[in-house]
């Protein structure tokens, strides 16, 4: 209120109503200036490829010859393709196990490493190390070294008298090892949680301590609600990331998705069809079905966020 009166003095020629209009307009322009880099990037680099991949999804396109319009045939083929459904099943299994386990592990470790333990920086770094290895070529070797038939895991199991399996190479267990890999690389979510914890005002904890609230109680009454925007972010992103999981499966199965399609993730199959089998049209169709499904899921999470995500800014975007 006060500011507007101050400013009004400097522009005395305008009627208040008109002034307000100019002011909003000016703010719109400023907002668009802030958005400008993204808008330029979106229209010049992102939108074109997106639209053309949508177009390609209605064509037969072998990458090396011009695309040929075939309508909905790719989408129809997809639904009658056993391997497609196998990849959907593998991906869903992965998502429903890996996302919750990874998020819970990341949150717990973040809470544990948030406060003053001696050498906490070193611990944080050590816990982030597996994520640093990322898509390193050495990961496949490491996984065989751990989960192979004479790997470390079986040696440990053998110590307890349990006969092991060739975990990575058995169709019933291979997916499990990739889930473990994903959980083990919880570093990124952990860091985001740590950043989120930092944002919670310390006065609230002090107040809770004065009230004699227990640690568990504080966690549920203060930490979780105030962390909810970050939990929300991690949930959406982990969901998208795990549905699109590619690198770990690609490296561990050497691109095959084997044994017997047990690690044939959605995007791995998409990649195989697009780049190994020269069916970019089909691959594009797969991509757009994925976008649609992810979009629906994201909208659902966004809608649900009203009930559990607490924004400091009042909750309106």
């Amino acid at each position: 209120m006060e500011t507007s009166t101050v400013k009004q003095k400097s522009v005395p020629n305008l009627r208040p109503n008109q002034y307000k209009k100019t002011q909003t307009r000016k703010n719109y322009i400023i907002a668009y200036i802030f958005l400008l880099p993204w808008l330029i990037g979106f229209f010049s680099l992102v939108l074109g490829p997106m639209v053309s991949s949508l177009y390609l999804s209605f064509t037969k396109f072998d990458l090396l010859n011009p695309p040929e319009w075939i309508g909905l045939a790719n989408y129809q083929d997809m639904f009658s393709d056993d391997k497609y459904w196998a990849s959907v099943k593998v991906t869903l299994q992965f998502v429903f196990i890996a996302v919750p386990t990874q998020l819970i592990a990341a949150l717990l470790v973040a809470v544990l490493l948030n406060k003053g333990i001696k050498g906490v920086g070193i611990y944080r770094t050590v816990y982030y190390l597996p994520s640093l290895l990322g898509g390193s070529v050495a990961i496949a070797l490491l996984w065989k070294n751990l989960f192979g038939i004479d790997g470390i895991i079986n040696q440990v199991l053998g110590f307890f008298g349990i006969a092991g399996q060739g975990w990575v190479s058995h169709p019933d267990y291979a997916l499990g090892t990739i889930i473990i890999l994903a959980t083990w690389q919880f570093g990124a979510s952990m860091v985001i949680f740590l950043a989120g914890l930092k944002q919670i005002p310390s006065e609230l904890y002090e107040a809770a301590a004065v009230d004699g609230s227990s640690k568990v109680n504080t966690f549920f009454k203060i930490t979780l609600p105030l962390l909810s925007p970050v939990i929300f972010f991690n949930l959406v992103i982990e969901l998208i990331k795990s549905i699109q999981v590619f690198t770990s499966a690609y490296i561990i199965s050497e691109g095959t998705g084997g044994p017997i399609n047990s690690t044939l993730f959605y995007t791995l199959y998409l990649y195989q069809r697009g780049f190994s089998y020269f069916e970019m049209g089909f691959a594009s169709a797969m991509a757009w079905v994925l976008v649609f499904v992810l979009g629906v899921m994201t909208i659902m999470i966004f809608l649900s966020s009203k009930f559990w995500v607490h924004y400091e800014d009042g909750g309106k975007l």
């Binding site: 229209f43 010049s44 639209v51 011009p66 038939i149 004479d150 190479s169 169709p171 780049f275 020269f278």
Partner: protein, 453 residues
């Protein structure tokens, strides 16, 4: 104001969509732009490249792409120096990398009209020929390219529909790698070089028994199946025709199932963990004592372990008395159909396989040289392992009782199909017969899909 804003947005959007689409479909014609490598911005090579473009009237630039390991890069680069010395008006831009991503990148470059001029291919050359992106070399044969000393089968390997599309960079042949150290340990005597599948069946369980944690043999997989067919006077696929029955597939898988049941062959969980890479193969890791390899990989296998490996021919089929192994190409150099300098491409490829000095540098890295003069020249200078490889190649070329059979069209998909079929049998998800029939039907479908254009 608001309206203008929306109109502007709409205009930008539609412009970009249109340009995005058209630039995409211009893929086949977009080659005229002078190579982007010479336009590199914002780094130290700028001065150098601008100099080049000034004198680009007389200097021709050729982009050459290959994949490989350290050794191959070093050798190939040396040969390129030699070539540039001999042809000062041709400058070679070497675009080399590891195997990862090589073909994904190549395909993308083709789609955008930006593929290199000379490209190294593997067994998938036929797929690129089918897509009509490979330069036919026939008009250069006898001019820039000399094939008089090349063995017929290696020319056949790069010939599709009567046209020559590439030159073979090295000859290789399927063979059987035998871990001599393991044999010595068990006291099982080494087989004779004309062993049969019956010998193989007797000997492998004994090896498994005598060794702790090591099985007699690894599955010979799809490569072995091709040899197996040749031993029966059949073939996989040639000129639009599949040359075998579903029962042959079943016989092959049954053979291995029996071997596993006798204890001779590695159990499924070990077999499935096998990697294509020589260093991570089962025989190097000590999981098996016998494995099927391509002869040019003998060195890579031997260098990755302290055990002593020997190169053996395939076990013979005792009924037909055939060995079934034939000479095969390891990799090819082929031209890009859209290249602006086809003659220079031909010159380079010819130099690479025929020049004595060049081939001496290249040695056995991509397989035994295809030019017989070159091979003779190399044998004297080779080390022990290369000598063994050359001997083996000579043995095969003298005694070969099977024709050269190219890979299936749709190489990647059919390889994957074979692997999956084998795995279904390994883990009892399918009987041998069902799996074989399924494989056969799916194979026919796949081939149809890739060849119908």
């Amino acid at each position: 104001m608001k309206k203008i804003f929306y109109i502007c947005l709409l205009a930008i959007m539609s412009f970009l969509i249109v340009s995005g689409c058209s630039s995409n479909s211009s893929g086949d014609g977009g080659n005229e732009s002078k190579d982007s490598a010479s336009e590199s911005l914002g780094d130290s090579s700028q001065d150098e490249s601008s100099e080049q473009s000034e004198e680009s009237d007389d200097v021709i630039e050729l982009r050459v792409a290959w994949w490989g390991g350290q050794e191959r890069h070093d050798r190939t680069l040396k040969v390129i120096d030699l070539f540039e010395e001999k042809y000062p008006n041709i400058k070679i831009v070497a675009e080399y990398s590891g195997f990862d991503g090589y073909f994904d990148k190549l395909t993308t470059q083709f789609a955008a009209g930006n593929a290199p001029d000379v490209i190294q291919y593997g067994g998938n050359l036929n797929d690129y020929v089918l897509k009509d992106v490979v330069l036919p070399l026939d008009e250069f044969v006898g001019n820039q390219i000399d094939i008089s000393k090349h063995s017929e089968s290696m020319l056949d390997a790069a010939t599709f529909d009567g046209k020559l599309y590439g030159l073979t960079l090295g000859t290789t042949a399927w063979g059987v790698l035998v871990n001599k150290t393991a044999f010595d340990k068990t006291g099982v005597s080494l087989p004779s070089k004309d062993w049969t599948w019956e010998d193989f069946r007797d000997l492998t369980p004994k090896l498994s028994e005598g060794l702790d944690g090591t099985y007699g043999t690894a599955d010979f997989e799809e490569d072995g199946f091709g040899v197996f067919l040749a031993q029966r006077d059949k073939f996989s696929y040639l000129d639009g025709e599949i040359g075998f029955e579903a029962t042959d597939v079943a016989d092959w898988f049954q053979l291995w199932k029996d071997l596993r049941e006798s204890g001779g062959a590695a159990v499924p969980e070990i077999q499935v963990s096998a990697s294509q890479t020589p260093e991570q193969s089962l025989i190097v890791q000590g999981d098996v004592a016998i494995e099927s390899v391509a002869s040019n990989q003998y060195g890579a296998y031997s260098n990755a372990t302290k055990d002593e490996f020997l190169l053996y021919p395939y076990p013979y089929d005792s009924e037909t008395g055939k060995n079934g192994v034939s000479l095969r190409p390891s990799q090819f150099f082929a031209g890009n159909k859209m290249t602006e300098h086809p003659e220079e491409v031909a010159k380079f490829i010819d130099f690479f396989v025929n020049d004595l000095e060049a081939t001496e540098i290249l040695g056995n890295d991509r397989g035994a040289p295809v030019n017989s003069d070159v091979r003779v020249n190399l044998i004297d200078k080779a080390d022990e392992i290369d000598q063994a490889i050359f001997e083996y190649i000579d043995l095969v070329s003298e005694t070969s009782d099977a024709p050269y059979i190219p890979n299936y069209p749709g190489y990647n998909e059919n390889t994957q199909l074979f692997k999956e079929t084998a795995e279904k049998i390994y883990f009892d998800q399918s009987s041998v017969e069902d799996a074989a029939n399924n494989y056969y039907d799916k194979l026919i479908d796949n081939i149809k899909k890739y060849t119908e254009e």
